[in-house]
């Protein structure tokens, strides 16, 4: 992961993190990403989605990634049993931190799939980028509801 973060020198539109357990035809991923010329996608296949720490996600965003799409296994399919559940909590934690600094938490998102093709991954990346561009306004609670 450290090498991957270090390799993200330019500002990618979307960093695509995917657990290898739910990715079909992984060998076609590079081609699928290169075929997509409208946006720059930096993919990374993980041995298990739980290998990612909140600091990895924050550093990727800080280095200029406009959005991060995380694709993990269904909770019941996780070969390491807890990996998929853990990553959901970590993603939520980072989204909360982004909200705290008035950043759009939708810059980061998690999708669970049992099996996904490279072409579908690219579609998810496009959707994530669109969500990250949505106007983000903090929910302001009125005094009575607190």
């Amino acid at each position: 992961m450290e090498k991957f973060i270090a390799s993200c020198e330019k500002s990618y539109d979307v960093v695509l993190l995917c657990c290898r357990r739910c990715l079909l035809n992984a060998e076609e991923l590079t081609e699928a990403v290169e075929r997509e010329t409208a946006l720059s996608i930096k993919p990374f296949i993980l041995p298990c989605s739980s290998r990612v720490h909140p600091s990895h996600l924050l550093r990727l965003l800080e280095r200029g990634a406009k959005a991060i799409e995380f694709v993990a296994c269904l909770e019941t399919n996780c070969q390491l049993l807890l990996g998929s559940r853990r990553v959901e909590r970590r993603v939520q934690y980072v989204q909360d931190l982004l909200t705290e600094i008035n950043e759009n938490p939708e810059r980061l998102g998690l999708t669970r799939r049992q099996s996904i093709t490279p072409a579908e991954l690219v579609e998810l990346a496009k959707e994530r980028l669109a969500k990250s561009r949505d106007v983000f306004t903090l929910e302001v609670k009125d005094a009575d509801s607190v």
Partner: protein, 223 residues
Amino acid sequence: MIFAERKPVEELIEFAGRYKRVAVAGCATCVAECAVGGEEEVRALVALLGMALRRKGTPVTFVPVMLERQCEREFIEGAVETLEGVEAVISLACGIGAQALAERFDMKPVFPGVNTSALVIREDDGLWESRCAACGDCVLGETFGLCPIARCAKGLLNGPCGGTRENGKCEVNEEMDCIWTKIVERAEARGELDALTEVALPRDWSNSRHGGQKRVVREELQR
């Protein structure tokens, strides 16, 4: 271990925004164990504050620094060169570590990046529970190894209070065991229930945390 919790990011942004070059200093012991001040947390905070302040239009250069122990002066010396090159420091160590840094760099603002809050044991992943209140007059010998000062909501020396729930939980917090129920259960299991019939006298609080800074001298350890 000493337990600390993350401070609201807004407080750290407000502090860091006053400077151009700020160190974020982690500590590899207690606060690393409770995942608020270790290497990963230093990296995360540097990235988060970097994003926040860039967004505000007041970019700050953050310098990550890891110390093996911020509460030991010898370890601070290893980071002096780096810390001398910044205007201010955010310390992710406990209050002891933050003060040790502030003492070493007394002309430099040192801001606590965490709130030190308890002495705990790790019960599970992401779950810590307090075990000690550093009260200065340990009664564990009389309470079968379970601390009623740190673990009873009322700090009772003679319990249970009568408010224990049917499931053995505390009336103040339903997620918390009534520690006096546990004490009684352990005494019963050891066949020493009678020991609890003796009324515990008021304890000696003179060695506790009030009354100013504690200063301990042990001549046999001095040079």
